[in-house]
Point group: C2
Chain length 339, copies 2
């Protein structure tokens, strides 16, 4: 049977989700697509486990969970990390799940370009390199004649990129309007249901692990703006970068404003708009009961098309196994077209 | 440039939508996929227009609209109809859009099997042959090594089949629950907003052209039951046929029942459930503001998966150009894999 040797770079929640998802689905994939997935390396920020014979995916996740470092993996743990890992073992496909950096795009940018130069396919959940240098990165993939897929970078487990490209292939896309950040949607939903203040709700969300210790990326709209740029480039063919997005976050939203909106049948949501005239992330009023009325950490997007009218999709915007499932669907699509 | 010669069988609203959609999109398709679409025949129930050199798609739709019969097409109009058309001209792909017949599955069944035997790919919007003989028809396609695609048979312009198969490829599907009939959703939405009776609302819907003169297929849940069977077979691998679905329609729903539900924060919707234990179409209570709270002729479906959690999709369940767009996406998918 054909083999697809995988390196996982980045081994936080998403990287561990990838390992567990592969463990769960490798049998189905070999049966349905005739290709055996084999994880030959996994790396966190300061260590890795590497073996050309393949690693145990669940053990990788368990070790990382228990020890914090992949160097603790029996026999195959090393202190190697970063781009060197891509030279240390033969592989076919890089699954890149390092944290997004919206200033430097690193380490995603270097890892991705190196894999392309080595002639390897890349599946990523990272937003940084896509939001800052979409054109450069996708051109590098084309120049090296490799596949580059990034469904998980927008919407987590909510399909939007492949969804629009594949299942709406006959349609022209006029615009996409949606809720692309789960953390802010959770905070706003909770402020609406509880009548609580922004500060208290943020604190509660941090305690629940929904908002991060430094919540800036989410609450200031930076994360949603990255996704806006990725959709603009990939689905509307707009040559834009992060700085082209007009961004306003939710940190100034008061419980009074939410209460006033509520009385008139409206909600306040952090809405991303992707259209040829406008790339914008801002709090907006949406009607209660409309398709924008989704609660908690859900993401949604309405795609306005020329032939099919409006199509809306909704799903979990984050989650370890959930985000990994979008990356694994990208892998399957590569297996179908190339293996 | 490569050519894909198309026969359109059935030239009602959907057939005419196909012709107009091809006219709108053939330039994009030849540019993006390197294949020229050419309609070499179109047939209604008693006549056709046939030319190996290609027909004018917009003229086909105009003629049908003005004359009621394709035999009026200049120079190439004939009184030929039915399966003979498939012998009258060389072609590559059948786009089948005849009316659904849930007793005999004809003429879709004969046309589809004949095209398969001739080694031709088929894209259909018909539900009859799929709901009655899914296994037989899909096996015939496999045996003849041809493509058979049917996205438009469920949900019109709401992608659900390709959506689940392609963009959720890594996931196991546990169940699908949704609103799969636009006419009944329109009637129930209107009864809810107006407080009007079933009989009056049905009559208004008929006057608006939303419900048919004989509304049985829609209001008794037959149409939704056909779609339930198609989803069961194609997405959950359940070997079921139409008679396996438990069906209850909306004709007994009173405005009083809707009013009572409303007071408690609920709506009455015609819900289709597709799960290994249950194939069922019936009126059910759903929460106001939930993802099942969609109005008018919209369709929606929530797909419960093992890895990605719940994913919901929503779109227009009917419409001439809208349904045709789903069929054209199926055509593009065939062009990508075979041409």
């Amino acid at each position: 049977m054909k083999e697809c040797k995988i390196i996982i770079m980045g081994f936080g929640a998403v990287g561990q989700g990838i390992a567990r998802a592969i463990a769960l689905k490798k049998e189905m994939i070999s049966k349905d697509y005739g290709v055996e997935l084999k994880v030959v390396a996994a790396a966190d920020s300061s260590s890795s486990a590497i073996s050309g014979d393949g690693l145990d995916e669940n053990l990788l996740a368990d070790i990382k969970n228990e020890n914090g470092k992949l160097s603790a993996y029996p026999d195959y743990g090393t202190i190697m990390s970063g781009p060197d890992v891509l030279d240390a073992v033969e592989y076919d496909l890089l699954m890149e799940a390092t944290p997004t950096n919206i200033e430097t795009a690193e380490p995603a940018l270097s890892l991705t370009l190196k894999a392309f130069e080595q002639g390897k396919d890349v599946v990523t959940s990272n937003k940084g390199h896509l939001a800052l240098k979409f054109g450069e990165v996708t051109k590098a993939a084309q120049d090296n004649n490799v596949e580059f897929k990034y469904e998980a970078s927008v919407g987590g487990a909510m399909p939007i990129i492949n969804f629009t490209k594949e299942t709406l292939a006959s349609c022209g896309i006029n615009s996409i309007i949606g809720i692309l950040n789960g953390t802010t949607n959770y905070i706003l939903s909770r402020m609406t249901s509880e009548g609580s203040s922004y500060d208290i709700t943020l604190k509660e969300s941090q305690e629940l692990g929904i908002a991060e210790t430094d919540p800036t990326q989410d609450v200031e709209g930076i994360d949603a703006a990255c996704k806006t740029v990725i959709l603009a480039n990939s689905l509307l063919g707009i040559d834009a970068t992060y700085s082209d997005v007009e961004v306003d976050g939710i940190s100034n939203i008061t419980s009074q404003a939410i209460e006033l909106a509520k009385k008139d049948g409206y909600l306040i949501k952090l809405i991303a708009e992707v259209s040829p005239n406008q790339l914008k992330v801002s709090p907006r009023l949406v009607k209660q009961g409309s398709s924008y009325d989704v609660n908690g950490t859900l993401n949604m997007a309405t795609i306005k098309t020329d032939l099919a009218g409006e199509v809306t999709v909704m799903g979990l915007g984050a989650g370890s196994l959930e985000t990994a499932s979008a990356m694994l669907t990208d892998v399957i699509s590569i297996l179908k077209s190339k293996y």
